[in-house]
Symmetry: C2
Subunit: 342 residues, 2 copies
């Protein structure tokens, strides 16, 4: 006679979740502001948007994404808070480029087995980044799926919702030949190109993530460097001089800048205008990667691009709020057909 089957026999433990939800509830609550209605643990997160009535035409801008295979480095190094920060800051960037400020964020962790310390570290990173961006962590889900995810592995997905008044949407429509393309520094790879980067570092370069890179940090630390938040660009955005704003994510320069270009303009990027971060130089040299492929895969040290009129460029380059992002002119807009020339 066999014992009766229980849900936990299939690898899913409801009780483990009940153990960690207290600590996770505290972290989540640390992101709450006065707009939060309801309480942790309901079917849906509730966010009061009565304040939108003060806007002319409020537009909700939303985006969903994961940190990609950056999680593989988290698995190997057992550092999990940085990917939590990554996904929030990445999503913030995706709606900021349209002029939208974040309202709230939801996370999804699909995981082999719910390990309390891992879940808490991830949520700690999420909550820290949410607080920094004044974005409420309004909901989330952790799904144990031992048949989908490998031992010690997970995928981390985030969804953000923000708002912008319709007349302030940044959509690139006013971009004209003669405009200036300004690059703002990234902190590292952010969340893109990790499949290739991991292959180069571990297979071609034969490095371990605990080996020391030339910047004095380990390869693991350098690769896991959290995605920078560009939330501090808002005073600049509020001035209304940003014609186009581009988050350099998957697809690099080529497949992102074209998303804001009018059909009669090209962007010409002068890659000599800045020096890529050392990790990108290492990846290119070690992997023997062609330049065009590098700029189509990685951010190369430029995580965000703003396009402004010539007469506004100087004020941005000298703007105190933007100073931390080390702005530099990296190209110009010329007559063309909506494409990007590197």
């Amino acid at each position: 006679m066999t014992a009766p089957l229980k849900y936990s026999d299939a690898g899913v433990s409801i009780d483990t979740w009940n153990t960690v939800k207290g600590r996770i509830g505290e972290l989540v609550a640390s992101t709450y502001n006065s707009h939060v209605s309801g309480k942790f643990g309901q079917f849906g997160g509730m966010f009061d948007v009565s304040f939108l009535k003060g806007m002319d035409s409020p537009i909700l801008v939303s985006s969903t994404d994961s940190v990609g295979t950056k999680v593989k480095i988290a698995f190997d190094t057992k550092v999990y808070n940085s990917v939590g920060m990554d996904i929030v800051n990445h999503c913030v960037g995706d709606i900021l480029v349209m002029g939208a400020r974040p309202l709230f964020f939801l996370d999804y962790i699909g995981i082999n087995k719910l390990i309390p310390e891992v879940a808490e570290q991830i949520v700690e990173g999420l909550a820290n980044a949410c607080r920094m961006n004044d974005c409420v962590l309004i909901g989330g889900e952790t799904a144990e799926m031992p048949d989908i995810y490998g031992v010690g592995e997970f995928d981390l997905v985030g969804t953000i919702v923000g708002v912008v008044d319709k007349e302030k949407v940044i959509d690139g429509a006013s971009i004209r030949a003669g405009d200036v393309v300004i690059g703002l520094r990234s902190s590292g790879l952010h969340t893109n190109g990790f499949s290739l980067a991991r292959k180069i570092v571990t297979e071609v370069g034969k490095k371990k993530y605990s080996d020391i890179f030339e910047d004095g940090k380990t390869f693991g630390q350098t690769l896991l460097e959290p995605h920078r938040s560009y939330i501090k660009l808002f005073p600049l955005i509020d001035k209304g001089i940003v014609k186009g704003c581009v988050h350099i994510t998957g697809g690099g320069f080529v497949d992102n800048i074209d998303r804001v270009l009018p059909l009669d303009c090209d962007a010409v990027i002068n890659t000599g205008a800045w020096t890529p971060l050392p990790i990108f130089q290492y990846l290119q040299k070690t992997g023997g990667v062609e330049s065009a492929e590098m700029y189509r895969t990685f951010n190369m040290g430029v995580g965000m691009v703003v396009i402004v009129a010539q007469e506004d460029a100087d004020s941005i380059l000298r703007d105190d709020g933007v100073a931390g992002f080390e702005p530099v002119v990296i190209g110009e807009i010329v007559p063309g057909s909506g494409s990007v020339k590197i």
Copy 2:
């Protein structure tokens, strides 16, 4: 000499995505309504909520989830549209229980390798369900991660945002002893309990998904039966007589109904009030699963529960709009401590 490394060498193809995005764009656009602002392929999806200004205190209600390991059956049977419908209808249920109507939805597909036919089938299911629920598919992301997902495998995650006026939020606060618990039929397992169900069917029952179940369909078809949408409950919800509404999801009856109970009430569920769908009877018998475990893991044929005052129960049981869900009294509210007795 080795060839220079490219991003596609690491298993990620930007070109494949460029091939499928046309068809996917069409499916996505089929869900659009007059609130959609902007166009497909921007960094964030734009949804105009100017109409919220007509509400007293609009509350955005959001939720994120996956279909769990139901996807494993999709992999085995190579039927992918039903899980697309599942995740939309599941999310609709999670915010409907709070009184919120869906506005828009975002999907995330983390996948081993982007196979155009698979992605298109999934998005077809998403788009069909979105249209049925008058919910815009405003954004999404497909991430190829061959190092995270097995060959032919993926995880499917959805996020929904809906709205309810604050005074119409259903939160269970008015539930009192003497109220009636009404169950509405599910179409099958919906999205929960699949880790255990798969184990019982394939390992204990030694069945293939192509084998015929007693309902005349294959096990695969019966298990993949899409999650029902309860959107048609809104005329009833709008009457303001629903005191509590519960989506029977992960945690079954025990860990869901308690989410709406006041601390001085218990819900007593009479499992003899309805006959579980044949698939649940098969799972219990074949797996030798104890009854308590069944009602903690599966919906047992009841996908949604509404709690109303005694005097309103009859009108609901006779309501034409609710008729399709075969409503039946399955229990009552008694003095207690916020727990559920099966």
